[in-house]
Amino acid sequence: MFSKRKSAYVGLVIILGFIVIALFAPWIAPHDYRVQDRSSIMESPSLEYPLGTDRVGRCLLSRIIYGARISLTVGLVSVGIGASLGLLIGSISGYMGGWVDRVIMGFVDIVWSFPTMLLAIALTAILQPGLQSVIIALGLVSWPEYARIIRSQFLAVKQKEFVEAARSVGASDFRIIKNHLLPNSIAPIIVVGTLGMATAVLVEATFSYLGLGAQPPEPSWGSILSMGKDFIYHQPLMSIAPGLAIMIMVLGFNLFGDAIRDIMDPRLKN
């Protein structure tokens, strides 16, 4: 394939492209994603509707463009929740050590060995189907990975001289964590976060397809596919286009995350 640096750029361009689409959706989309044109239902692609229309006469292209907002929001917020929780819990575990560390890590192990997808489904069942539930569920199942990274970084950095030096000039625990330990743990967090975005986009699409995520009329790519499958004989584009969007966005995050990881850790180079 291409070099790591190149695939990082390709990934980044894809990600930025989707961010631009999401931010400027009202200007890019040819129609409002909610407007139902009763005179053109289930239409084939035309100049007015480049990808055709759905069962209630809504512009498919416009719905896919607005769908980027949902995918990116769910990804960002859920990764934010997972990373913050992991950061907090992992810091406590790594900094305190001793029995606190053992209890927290025991708990991390249990959550870790749980099938993620099933845990997320269980949480969504408790919180009731909806995008908010998917976001919270994704955040609650993803924190252990961040916690583990932060903790091991802490254990590695704790012994270093510069931390010793900071302590000897009277820096407080909080100050040491904020100024000396966290900056050293940030890089791997970015990698896990980027790959976590890929997972979040996939899970959101799957949940919305199943009816557990986005509720109508929210234009999630997963829910468009779900309607598309009902009309797979008449309107195959509705079963293809949203899936392509999901695939390209997930590919972008995977390319970027994989490449950054390999660039940062030369030992992983094959």
Partner: protein, 306 residues
Amino acid sequence: MAAYLVKRILGIIPILVVASLIVFFMLQLTPGDPVLLLAGERATPERIERITAEWGLDQPLYVQYFAFAGRIIQGDFGQSITRNRPVSDLLKTSLPITLELSLAALFVSMVIGVPAGIISAVRHGSLIDQAALFGSLIGVSIPAFWFGILLMLAFAVRMPILPTSGYGTFAQLILPAVALGTAGAARISRVMRSSMLEVMQQDYIRTARAKGLSEKIVIYKHGLRNALLPVITIMGLSLGWLLAGSVALEMVFARPGMGQLLVRGILMRDYPVVQGMLIFLVICVVVANLVADILIAMANPRIKFD
């Protein structure tokens, strides 16, 4: 070995306890009266009274939990609200359907993933390696359920040679198994490739080459045997992942398995069914991982059992 087995089997208990706690608290945390969640919103007063007594819902929470745990250990998950059948009945009919799809998908992913990984590693850096790497990148980026829809579009709608839905015949198994298995193959080929690459750099491979063995024997007898060990682990993990992934594919291909029952149960607020399916899916995944751990311990005598 025996001690390792016991330790490993005991290790799954906390996971099952947490799973049962989540499922138990599902009723408490979900908005609404737990009795009505179990009995259904249109339940008669007699039924509400009976369910309250049966599940001990008028008792303190910890008593309720132990009563609940005791019942699920005996395989009693109560009565489905929407289907008017015991959940254990539904489990009996849906479990084989889900296992069939997961195992078939595992087979597909091994058949594609293992050779792809080996060829990739052996011809490291070649065009074929790069193609395989790119393929696996696409494979992990495609939502399995969408790949299923694409396959359906191609082989059931455009070229009607396979059925779009249902369960029972081999033809109905092909599309969902290929859709789910291809996604699994991407992961397996990645692991197989890096494991093979690592093994091929070991001293014993250099020794084998130095004593003049043909490259074929070096690769397949000395390399592959050692490189397959991590694949056993990933097989167990994949089975767990495929079981969870079968939820979406059962919805796409209308297979009446545990995943479909679970999702319909959530949408129709049929909590006894949701509880039963969740607990059982978790048990399947945990057992799959356990079996993989035990297999790898038996296959690799160098692992210390302590």
